[in-house]
């Protein structure tokens, strides 16, 4: 059922967009403490552009890869900022990873998450412990790979991935930022959760909710 997988992916982006919109001010507040207070605004603009673009996309002909490519460029063009190149690269890598696929089984979901993580890492030249969204995406990608290797159920897969993401975000509280704007605040970033990590958790939760029932 390739077309329904594509629809599911579009629904995923809609779910992401609505949770980000709902948490917009909270994310901006997190950014206000250690950055420039725009993260919620930026992410909301980006995912609203993505869903707007996908609403015009023909689910039949696009394919998973086509949807992710469209998401990448609409997010980037609406947003710029740090998150634009990071998530645009992430979605482009995901489009490549799913090029040959037409279902969103757990293996595909795992590849998707891993591609996002490696795309962000590549574009931002970051690593774990930098106090960024990578501190969510990297552990989530590891958890996904392990869950697939262990042959876990969809429910277990998503609960592992979500737990890893949440733990990762919490851990950013005790990190000193070294990337992005928060790096200039130095040790004063201690105690604050990274806003990009917080939004990454929201994204992963929305993914779990829409992709869980494969």
């Amino acid at each position: 059922m390739p077309e329904s997988a594509v629809r599911r992916l579009i629904e995923m982006f809609e779910a992401i967009s609505s949770v980000i919109e709902a948490e917009r001010d909270h994310l901006s507040e997190l950014d206000g403490a250690i950055g420039d207070a725009d993260h919620g605004i930026t992410m909301a603009i980006g995912f609203s552009a993505v869903t707007g673009e996908l609403a015009r996309t023909d689910a039949g002909s696009a394919g998973l890869s086509g949807v992710l490519t469209a998401a990448a460029s609409s997010f980037l063009n609406a947003v710029g900022a740090s998150t634009g190149p990071l998530y645009a690269t992430a979605f482009r890598r995901a489009a490549q990873a799913l090029k040959e696929r037409d279902t969103l089984d757990l293996e595909a979901c795992s590849l998707l998450i891993q591609a996002v993580a490696s795309g962000i890492g590549e574009r931002g030249k970051g690593q774990r412990g930098d106090k960024t969204m990578l501190d969510v995406w990297l552990p989530a990608a590891d958890a996904a790979a392990q869950a697939v290797a262990a042959g876990k159920s969809a429910a277990a897969f998503w609960s592992d991935v979500t737990a890893a993401a949440e733990n990762g975000a919490s851990a950013t509280r005790s990190m000193v930022a070294t990337k992005g704007r928060a790096a200039r605040v130095g040790e004063r970033s201690l105690g604050h959760m990274d806003p990009g990590a917080a939004s990454a958790v929201l994204i992963i939760r929305a993914m779990a909710q829409t992709l869980r029932d494969g």
Partner: protein, 333 residues
């Protein structure tokens, strides 16, 4: 926080609509987009093109510095957000006169990623691109990490030098070299008294206690490097100048240009009081102020605060600083 707004989500579009109408004498949209604006009287064959850009919320930065003798094109992002690669590429194409294009912008992760992606695309289109990141914010990183610093109000001087070099017909390499020199000789420290607020939230972006100030403030409302008890204007200026003197190697008789910049809500009255002390401190070292600008040149929405920038001149920089230009917010003749 009260503001003159319609739809808060349309604030950038509406502002740019106003900008394009107001400044049509100086700039025009590229391919109908308000996110990429080209100087009416800027790019020409044989001249290196100068592309600047960044987020909005810093007005008159960056779009106020587009015009003959200064920047050829500006890419415009959302509030405090780098523009994406697309409009930057459009700017590069519009600015290109066949001799290459110079990108000059502040050193922020977002701007770096977007401008680098744009540079790759422009190169693929056959436009040679060189980049100078501005890093004048002394307080944002120790001197050993000079290249890691942010670009703030010193942009004003660095753009001016770059624009003059391009307008004089220097090669891309020569334009890059003198712009890099200008950046290395530009020193800024900012102090915030009150936070600004985003039009979308209309709440303070952060908080500063009633007796505190934030030293080393950037131009995005990012918290500065230290929070201190507020002191007198002269004491604040002294501590800024002390930081700058620690790095700036001037000899008696040398010349500088000075920019005392409001972050938004701080009025001219206070800027003049700061300038007065800057002049006293420089005079005590027998350093002459060859030119000065005092006012709103690189803001951070409606933040209360100010920054002081010193450009350490040499003959070449002084020549280029006085080179004529004609833009919406800077005219030199």
């Amino acid at each position: 926080v009260k503001k003159f707004l319609n739809n808060p989500n349309e604030v950038v579009e509406e502002m740019l609509d106003g900008v394009v109408r107001a400044h049509e004498k100086y700039l025009q949209p590229i391919n109908g987009s308000h996110r990429a604006l080209v100087a009416r009287n800027g790019p020409r064959p044989g001249k290196v093109g100068l592309v600047i850009g960044g987020g909005t919320g810093h007005e008159p930065c960056f779009l106020g510095y587009v015009g003959k003798g200064l920047a050829d094109a500006v890419a415009v992002g959302n509030i405090f957000s780098s523009p994406p690669p697309d409009p930057i590429v459009q700017c590069a194409e519009a600015a290109s006169g066949g001799e290459g294009v110079l990108f000059v912008y502040g050193n922020y992760a977002g701007d770096v990623m977007n401008f680098e992606m744009a540079a790759e695309i422009a190169e693929e289109k056959g436009i040679k691109v060189k980049t100078v990141l501005t890093t004048d914010d002394v307080a944002s990183s120790p001197v050993e990490d000079r290249e890691g610093r942010r670009g703030v109000a010193g942009n004003f001087f660095i753009f001016k030098i770059a624009g003059a070099a391009c307008d004089r017909g220097l090669s891309l390499e020569a334009c890059e070299a003198v712009t890099r020199k200008a950046n290395l000789r530009t020193y800024t420290v900012g102090v915030a008294l009150e936070p600004g607020s985003m039009p979308q939230t209309r709440r303070h972006n952060f908080e500063i206690g009633p007796d505190d100030m934030e030293v080393g403030m950037g131009i995005h409302g990012e918290p500065g490097v230290t929070r201190e008890r507020i002191r007198s204007a002269d004491e604040i200026t002294d501590s800024i100048m002390d930081r700058i003197f620690k790095e700036m190697r001037t000899a008696p008789g040398e010349r500088v240009a000075v920019l005392v910049n409001s972050f938004g809500a701080t009025p001219l009255m206070e800027l003049y009081i700061l300038f007065r002390r800057v002049q006293q401190r420089l005079a005590a070292k027998d350093i002459l102020i060859e030119a000065n600008w005092i006012g709103h040149y690189c803001t951070s929405l409606d933040m209360a605060g100010a920054s002081i920038t010193i450009l350490h001149l040499d003959q070449e920089l002084s020549d280029l600083l006085h080179h004529p230009c004609e833009t919406a917010f800077l005219k030199v003749n």
